[in-house]
């Protein structure tokens, strides 16, 4: 007879796995990936593949030769970082900059904290912000999306993002209504993907589709996205009501730039967001307000990445401050 195994209860386990969750996130990014391929063609594939491969490679090398631990690159988390990093850069970014992004994202953003689950900041955002500061020119010249077989809306090959146009115009002293005509029908275009921008920013609808999938599979909860969008919208509305000449309408903020990508795929990263529902609400609300603050008053046209990174730093505090509802809590009178 073989020896009986002894271990503490429970003796059964669900089919939940880290891999399952990570691949769920990857599946959720497929619609946005397809849209980016549709608009940026081979370039989108090039950037995404390069980014994913480099993230995997960096993680592999660090685990194998630096940390000398078990290699866990098959868990899917490095693939997510790779895709998210690709989603955050222009489609014409040269390979060596992508490599630097991957090294910073995985090496500094993730492995230096101890690997998956232990990092405080979203690795892809760490990579993106590093690139933005180090390569401001390459990181902000955005190819104009050209639908497969279609025509570009302008003759230019690269151009600023709607947020960039807005920022530039406003700092030149123009009013919102003077600038708007330079941004072609943004609501429709930005929903389905004509806005200039990084790979993953082009279509808000595709991102939403992915988010719904993650909600259904219970990979994310509604708290962070709703608080994020809600607070950003309310804050932008207040500014707009105060002075519509200086502040653009809230819908513009919602649909431009990395808003939806940040809301659904960066802020909801379970590793770097709070555990409790209340914590997530505050986390999301904080990120929403910071985003608008940076966009409107800061030096950069886009503020989503910075806002999320700042809120990431508050997560340990939020986790300590907001505890789940305990069973049988004795309420002190």
């Amino acid at each position: 007879m073989n020896l009986l195994k002894i271990s503490g209860s429970p003796h059964v386990h669900t089919d939940n796995s880290v891999k399952g969750i990570m691949y769920g996130v990857i599946y959720a990014m497929i619609p946005a990936l397809l849209v980016s391929i549709y608009f940026f063609g081979l370039d989108a594939i090039r950037v995404t593949v390069l980014s994913v491969v480099m993230c995997l490679l960096v993680e592999y090398l660090i685990q194998k030769y630096v940390l000398k631990t078990t290699v866990t690159i098959s868990d899917g988390s490095a693939i997510i970082t790779g895709i998210l990093l690709a989603f955050n850069v222009p489609s014409n970014l040269p390979w060596h900059i992508i490599l630097i992004g991957a090294i910073v994202a995985i090496g500094i953003g993730k492995m230096s904290f101890g690997g998956v689950g232990k990092n405080i900041f979203n690795p892809a955002l760490v990579g993106r912000v590093f690139l933005l500061i180090s390569f401001p020119v390459q990181m902000t010249s955005w190819p104009i999306p050209v639908p497969l077989g279609g025509k570009a809306l302008t003759d230019a090959i690269t151009g600023p993002t709607p947020l960039g146009i807005m920022k530039e115009g406003l700092s030149a002293g123009k009013t919102v209504s003077e600038i708007m005509p330079q941004i072609p029908d943004y609501v429709q275009n930005m929903l389905v993907g004509f806005q200039g921008g990084s790979l993953g920013e082009v279509s808000a609808l595709a991102l939403l589709l992915g988010a719904i999938y993650m909600l259904i599979r219970k990979i994310i909860t509604w708290h962070t996205p709703v608080a994020f969008i809600g607070s950003a919208f309310i804050f932008a509305s207040i500014l707009y009501l105060v002075d519509p000449a200086r502040f653009v309408d809230p819908f513009f903020h919602m649909l431009t730039g990395g808003m939806m990508l940040g809301v659904f795929f960066m802020a909801t990263d379970m590793v770097t967001s709070p555990m409790s529902a209340k914590g997530q609400l505050i986390f999301g609300a904080g990120a929403g307000i910071l985003t608008i603050l940076i966009r409107v008053f800061g030096a950069y046209p886009e503020g989503v990445s910075f806002a999320i990174l700042i809120m990431n730093a508050f997560v340990p505090l939020l986790d300590r401050g907001f505890k789940p509802k305990r069973f049988g809590e004795v309420v002190k009178a």
Binding site: M1, K5, S7, G8, H11, H13, P324, F327, E329
Partner: protein
Amino acid sequence: MLKTFKLGGVHPAENKISEDKKIEVLPLPKIAYIPISQHLGAPAKPLVNKGDSIKVGQQIAKGEAFISANIHSSVSGKVQKIDAVIDASGYKRTAVVVQVEGDEWEEGIDKTKDIKRDITLSQKEIIAKINEKGIVGLGGATFPSHVKLMVPDGKKADVLIINGVECEPYLTSDHRLMLEMGEEMMIGVEILKRALGVNRAVIGIENNKPDAIEHLSKIAKNFSGIEVQGLKVKYPQGAEKQLIKAIINREVPSGKLPIEVGAVVNNSGTAYAVYEAVQKNKPLIERVVTITGKSVKNPGNFMVRIGTPVSELIEAGGGLPDDTGKVISGGPMMGKALNSLEAPIVKGTSGILIMQEEEAARKQVLNCIRCSRCVSVCPMGLEPYLLEKVVMFEDFERTEKERVMDCIECGSCQFTCPANRPLLDYIRLGKNKVGQIMRARAKK
């Protein structure tokens, strides 16, 4: 309307393989190992010596402390020795080892199947009888029943809750008992009601046992003040605090007993044992035990004499399968893995589950990815990921503050964790340490 508790909970695969198997009587063992401690509290003091001849039902150990219980012999024969054995709950216990000869019963025990409906004893006499006959909670906690029935001064019970939930996967002993001994059990409930001095009793049963709900509802019509409440299937609904919350929506405060909110919970099997003790003068010497598992040839439910080695029950189930990985006393969520098949079945053994090697293997432990699933399934509203971490860092002050002692060890967190973290292993360790610290503090 079906009820359930709100906070947390999981849905493990039910696997109630043996639910249609009628209760059979397991043949007598050749040797019975009867531990003198089969209950929560102080061990009983042995009353017999090596070489003594004893009968079925004869008291062989006396519970002397306030929280303790009497032990009776489940077999007749000669006391071979009094020695330490490892029982089915995994602990080393002193046991009376009896060489079985025949099946000779003590005088005065009604062995017949006739149902005795008239309850003649008074409240005091009932409690005395339950004490005398060594009745303990049969749901697993094995708390001496007479102690539970003595409501402390200043507290008042207004409802008796009968636990017929059997929320552990695989186990079916309570289910079968409710179906086959429903009326006896119901008389037991009535007796418990009188012992407590309450006029309301609610039997909680999950709706994966519709036959039991229907059967007992019918019987309950002949009794006043006894209701049957169907419950939505959710683990750990059989845990006392969760059951009270589900049925009467009262929340037992942290660190307090159910009586704090006017409730007393007893298991359905206990109600049956109470019937036998009070109406038939029969001590707790046998119980229904499930033998089950995916590879078990003849899964079933058996009436087993206390002290029978687990191996004999496994034989009755068709022998130990070749692919056995673990043998568990109890269910897969809270049961204990046995290291010896010679361990005797005791009052608290509700089932023996044989798990396949593959099923029993633990998966590779990965980093916590902060998915918060463990937090959302914890029925006590704790943060298992955090408890694991603070115990690992040996920060027991924080462990206590994070309310580790509230943990009911239901295992929902570890069951759910996608990173396969051994959460409950650490939490148990934490409870142990914090318990020591608290006791040391109380002594000062």
